[in-house]
Symmetry: C2
Subunit: 251 residues, 2 copies
Amino acid sequence: MNVSETLFKPIKAKRTFEEVSTEIKSLIFKSVLKPSDKLPSEIALARQFNVGRQTVREALRILELSGFITIRKGARGGPIISDTISNTISNSFLDAIQMKSINIGELTLARLEIEKVVLNHAINNADSSDIKDLQENVLKAKRKTENRFQAFSENIEFHKLLAEASKNHVFVIVIQSIMAVVADFLSRLEPNLEKSKRVVKAHEDILNAIISKRGDEAITLLEKHLLQVEVELQVSYDKLTRNDSVESGKS
Amino acid sequence: MNVSETLFKPIKAKRTFEEVSTEIKSLIFKSVLKPSDKLPSEIALARQFNVGRQTVREALRILELSGFITIRKGARGGPIISDTISNTISNSFLDAIQMKSINIGELTLARLEIEKVVLNHAINNADSSDIKDLQENVLKAKRKTENRFQAFSENIEFHKLLAEASKNHVFVIVIQSIMAVVADFLSRLEPNLEKSKRVVKAHEDILNAIISKRGDEAITLLEKHLLQVEVELQVSYDKLTRNDSVESGKS
DNA sequence: TCACATTTGTCCGTATGTATC
DNA sequence: AGATACATACGGACAAATGTG
């Protein structure tokens, strides 16, 4: 009868390591524990929570995978509160993408549509600080390519900075997740300086359009840019998957 | 060896439990292990990998949190390959949302923009099977509200079905993640049958517009629907956060 | 209903590798 | 270079849960 009560009550018996991890997690949410704070060692935590070390370890494993803490080994090491959690979502995203075996066209389509929306908001909401970040990003990427290095991470970062200029955290998280997938695709390809240069140029053009408030042009440029990337990605990827007998040797 | 690959993957695959978890994960990716397959017990895995049981447990913990396996206790229990991984992303999303303390307006704005895009693709790509799923969803929700029950999960599901009709897995994953956040917000509010009925009605109208190929109308209806939900959400939420000394009592 | 076997959950002791001082 | 502190990892043990006969 009382369906509504049981509906939201997980009858799941909580395991001790889950209680420990959620306890620590909630301390982080409440900002009692802040980024770069150091947690007690495993042994100390085990004593304080009155549980075994293995239990603590599994709790720490969860927090680590969820991106709340990083763990350093050695003296003065131990669990440390992380400042970012987003790369964890990206990892989950990557897993899901791999499970669904998503192809480049599908990825590009979704990316294009969502980034257009985000760019639109970025154009309207970007302040001088955002513009400065974007300019520095492009400049750094430019210098790198001029020195005959690829600007891989900078070119990924550009899109994250655009998302941040939209002033909407949800957009930021979504774009970060998608860019992780894009980066994963890109990382499998062989380096190509010319392509990297073209990307930097495209970013520069988009940024200039944003600065001079030519919103429609910025979106058109973004569209062209992403479709161009897709073509290059597709070509390289086909070449790669042709000899795709990638087997990890047994040991 | 292959330095170029390790350049962007300085992931320390050093720890033993990580090697174990990635090994099992890759078996899942290669479909050697399929959903509902049963993995050996911890002790058996420890023997086969020639590692300790603690190491196996930490590897299983990772796989469990990543959504690849579920674990049952007791005889004939053990780790089982899951068929879905998406709820994991949603959990990470929820964590990130909580960290950034995202508000309802921000969430609705992003949701609206992204869902409009997705709906657009759903209108163009939905086949008869998608329409049938959506119709059944609305029908089920309707019956539930007529029997004076809320159609909570059905109303969430409606938006996921819309995303699936877009025929783009990336959209599906993104929408699922966002809806997890929405569901989280909603679950904190007190049940309200009238609101649930209004939502079902809105879904029905949107679905009818899709069926009769009135794309623009469908989008307009969606827009109205989401904004209406936002208003209700905001009102209820303000009421809720007024007496917000929410403390989880120890038991 | 009642044992029984299986498997996870948890704790403890110990040993080793590693980073810091 | 040596001592210290910490994570990592192994093995043994028992409790709790759960399905089977």
